[in-house]
Symmetry: C3
Subunit: 445 residues, 3 copies
């Protein structure tokens, strides 16, 4: 478990702000059974649960209204769905697994032969044990998903198909809240996740869960240099709707952002960069590099999750995504195998901690000016020379101080010092605080 | 034959514009026996043959006139040359191979012992079967070239040396023509090759042959964004003379150019970059990378062919050179071994196709602006979502569209999208055309 | 011995300016026994010896006066020091090795048990045969250093401790001199070394010795484009004091500089870059690359020697350091093992030669303008085409001329040509001189 370690007092504090395993598991279990979609009671109920931790304010977008190129669809509600054989046995039951029904399926109540039914049944021949996840938000149709094994066993018969669903004018809902900076500033860090998939764990619930405990931890920080905006939206249409309302504000104020998704397993570490080169990428990568854990850095690409919208040319926000097993990059993705066993309290906690490190590093990435610009300052008379610790610790502490001091010229931020020295921003920040307290540094800008 | 493949309809059309093997071989055979030099009937006769395909206009530069630092030499004509032994047997005969006489040899009719003759005989001890190619344009002298094997066998004897040549005031000739753009523009792509070596194949005839069929193919394109200038000149002195007349025009209008040379064999792929960084280099290299064929990328160096002149500091044109086996980089270079067997219809055709891809990519390298800047546009309602093809093809097509759309911000050209996405410019161009036809894109600038 | 080779007439001349082994060894032996410190008679006596070669002028900084953040300490003098056992035998004797006493030790004359004495004895358990080097300039204390082997053998006894030293107001001294350019210019190259350690060879005497013979060689050059400043200072406090007097001048005029230290052994080649990117780094590295000897290139770091001060943010001078075995990077560093056997005449000579090549390359790094900007100039009629030498030498000479000519556009200096062509600056400079003499080039700026 090398990720949950600290090398400085700041990280030590952040570790203490993590949730315990029970809190994580309990939130996961509470959200798990709900059949979410981009609108409707599943989304609303899930959002209400999360509000216990994050005080989201809601925005409503009426069905039929426009958000840029997109029109808000009708609200979908599903109450029940099944297929019975001629003996009246439920051979597929939505109540057993909500992936069995294609998202946004229209209602149906009909009898069909196996042959007639076949075009409405979807499976994954290559993953015969998995139920696929399918939706059809914009083409009205209905259908069932099941494992290929189940499908193969279906005998000739007359089947009774039943979907008790409803599509009606209503609203698309988003939730968001800004955790204010502790200093006066318009600048903000933007965190976004989605809440629109039925029972899947990594590619649905990991995002909201990580966001929840990130909020709780960040709210406890004594200092926040930036406002931190938390948004929870239905994927794609929801982020576009959200942008239609808050996009201009984000464009003006957002200094860095992340789409939180696929961050609950322990298999991989993946960072998808923002569209433009940004200190955000450098800082995130410097932190991943120091985990000592193998990780993949991907340049921005315009498919994926909501960064597609946030990085659309009209906004081009500095938004990346720090993930574990990335969407499309693990076989369980968008199937019933992306279940509660695929994620773990450990994976979620690691993600929360990594995000905390990145966000706090972004806020600690200050530019300093040393009082002594000519020649180096003396550390001894100011009591800055380390009195405790072995020779190696002393040497490293002095090195970190020297790095911070030499580049405290009002032109280099701590990320520059991190890049040149190889020390972590938070390691350097601790020394910067000491030097500042000793009267040697002031903050620039 | 991986080079002659297509991955999109544009390339498919280009493949159809290639000459057939017979056309290539027939032009090669027609030009082969002529004894060309930088001036004189050999050059003129070869140019006349090429005019059947490219409607070159001629420029004449009088002997003794100046082109920058160079003075146009006298015109050289050779009718016959041989060495007879004392039995009257021709032991070296210009009519058997025109490399036997040093280019620009002065006339001679004289008897000599072997010892007297030796200083006038040139061979390659390291390549004993090859006749070397030598010239002496600016120092008046005469000499014979022969294989080292022949030289070694020459017995003591009295030899009769005869060269029936003539140097007299005349002209140096260049040919050039501009294939006009189909839109109004001053910008041009510049293609130059030379026509001044006797019977050699790769390092002489491959250039004019590739240029000829490039002209024929490009002339058939329904759209050309740039004018395309074709120039055929004697190497060095000819390109300098040409620049003295057209250099300022080129400096103003040339957006990309190539020296066509050594492009007839199938052994290697070599790209020599232009002197300055240029999109030309990036585009050419992106195309070579996608051939899957090993290739060598060389930075500009100021020796080589006519790019030396085009990239001289006063002009510094964006001119590179896409070659197969590069001059000086294959042992047959500048010897009788660079013969018709060294090149092939296959090699010539591949070069024509690669040049076509590069030139069309340069013209397709447009900057687009998407109608939908905020969030992504919907593909489905516009009929852009692929209806045919497997999952992989569909996924790739959508990806290409998404890449084009996300960077259709008026700031990135298709080469930028190619660099970031890894897709070929022409693959992206096809999707850009579709998106434009669907009303989603306009061209910038 | 691949370093002491030449590939052009300039280097050939530089080789002739090197000292012979006897001169090097003799200066080393003369300086070796002196007990130097940052002030006092050891420093002064050493400086006087060096003045026989470099005509240093002295600057004095009074004890108690301030140089930026630092206060000049009192002057230290030591006459004798020893520890005797109860039999009156000297078991540690400063006169046998001046590392036995901590630098700046206060006087003492006292009897102690072994237990009482222990806190004042310093050794290196990991290098039991070495006497460590320790100082305490700013905390008044006394102490002895000895090998761990000696320390381990000390029996219980009553010891007599005696240090006859003195700390009293006086001066810190620096020496410097400017070797004037042979043309009118304010620009200067800055060479700095320190003279403040007792008997150590690589990390003390190599710097002043290399500087001495560099001065002698550079003074003999017929042309120097820049002034060359030589400074010899006590490390840290001395360079800061020196900067307080000459820093503004250096900031205005210094185009390149080096801290000369650790340049006497033959084990490694190390180049520590200046803080900012600078042609100095590129040139030095291009020369190291051509030695064919493995070497280490280190980015600037703010610990080390006096470049810490020269590269402090207020000055940020372009100062690097070309070393052999770098401080802290060899086990003998700061111990009695860094002795006369650790360095060699060969190592010192190689360093002098490398520094000469770098300094002369910096001065030869000119920007030229060719008389012929359009097309290439003809070499033959100007007698520039090489008449002697084999085909390979001729080809390379022509290539070098072509490189120089093509980039003689008033925008590229010889270092640019070196970077692009792979030829050494001094190789190119030789051709540039030839081309200039033939009237083809003028110097820009």
């Amino acid at each position: 478990m090398p990720i949950l370690q600290h090398s400085n007092p700041i990280e030590e504090q952040l570790l203490k702000l993590l949730p315990d395993d029970g809190e994580l598991t309990s939130l996961l279990n509470e959200l798990w059974p709900i059949c979410r979609s981009i609108t409707g009671p599943g989304f609303n109920q899930s959002l209400d649960i999360l509000k216990a931790i994050i005080p989201f304010k809601e925005d409503l977008f009426a069905s039929g209204s426009w958000a840029y190129d997109w029109q808000i669809p009708e609200e979908w509600q599903i109450r029940d769905a099944w297929i019975k054989n001629s003996k009246g046995e439920k051979i597929i039951d939505f109540k057993k697994h909500n992936l069995h029904v294609i998202g946004y399926s229209t209602p149906v109540d009909q009898k069909m032969t196996l042959k007639e039914l076949q075009p409405f049944l979807h499976s994954l021949p290559d993953q015969p044990g998995a139920i696929p996840y399918l939706t059809s938000y914009y083409n009205k149709r209905w259908g069932f998903c099941l494992s290929h094994n189940e499908l193969a066993k279906l005998p000739e018969d007359t089947y009774h198909i039943f979907i008790d669903s409803e599509l009606k004018p209503g609203h698309l809902k988003t939730g968001s809240v800004v955790l204010p900076a502790t200093v006066k500033t318009d600048k903000e860090i933007f965190l976004s996740t989605y809440l629109c998939h039925p029972s899947m764990a990594n590619n649905e619930l990991s995002g909201p869960i990580v966001m929840s405990f990130l909020y709780r931890a960040l709210a406890k920080l004594p200092e926040r240099k930036y406002n931190i905006r938390f948004a929870i939206v239905p994927e794609t249409i929801g982020s576009i709707a959200y942008l239609s309302k808050y996009g201009e504000e984000l464009k003006k104020n957002c200094v860095a952002g992340f789409v939180l998704t696929c961050c609950g397993d322990t298999n991989k570490l993946t960072y998808k960069r923002s569209r433009e080169k940004n200190v955000l990428n450098g800082i995130t990568e410097s932190i991943l590099a120091k985990t000592g854990v193998p990780h993949k850095i991907l340049d921005f690409f315009p498919t994926g999750s909501d960064e597609r919208q946030y990085c659309s040319p009209g906004f081009n926000l500095p938004v990346g995504s720090l993930m574990r097993s990335m969407y499309s990059d693990y076989p369980e993705y968008h199937t019933s195998l992306d279940d509660r066993n695929f994620v773990s309290a450990q994976g979620l906690k690691e993600s929360i901690y990594l995000y905390l490190q990145v966000i706090v590093s972004l806020m600690e990435n200050k530019t300093y000016v040393s009082k002594v610009q000519n020649g180096e300052p003396r550390l001894g008379p100011r009591g800055l020379y380390p009195q405790l610790g072995g020779a190696k610790e002393t040497k490293e502490t002095v090195e970190k101080m020297m790095w911070v001091l030499n580049f405290a010229d009002g032109k280099h931020d701590l990320y520059d010092v991190c890049s040149r020295s190889g020390f972590k921003i938070l390691d350097l920040a601790v020394e910067a605080h000491n030097l500042k307290n000793a009267g040697l540094l002031t903050e620039s800008e």
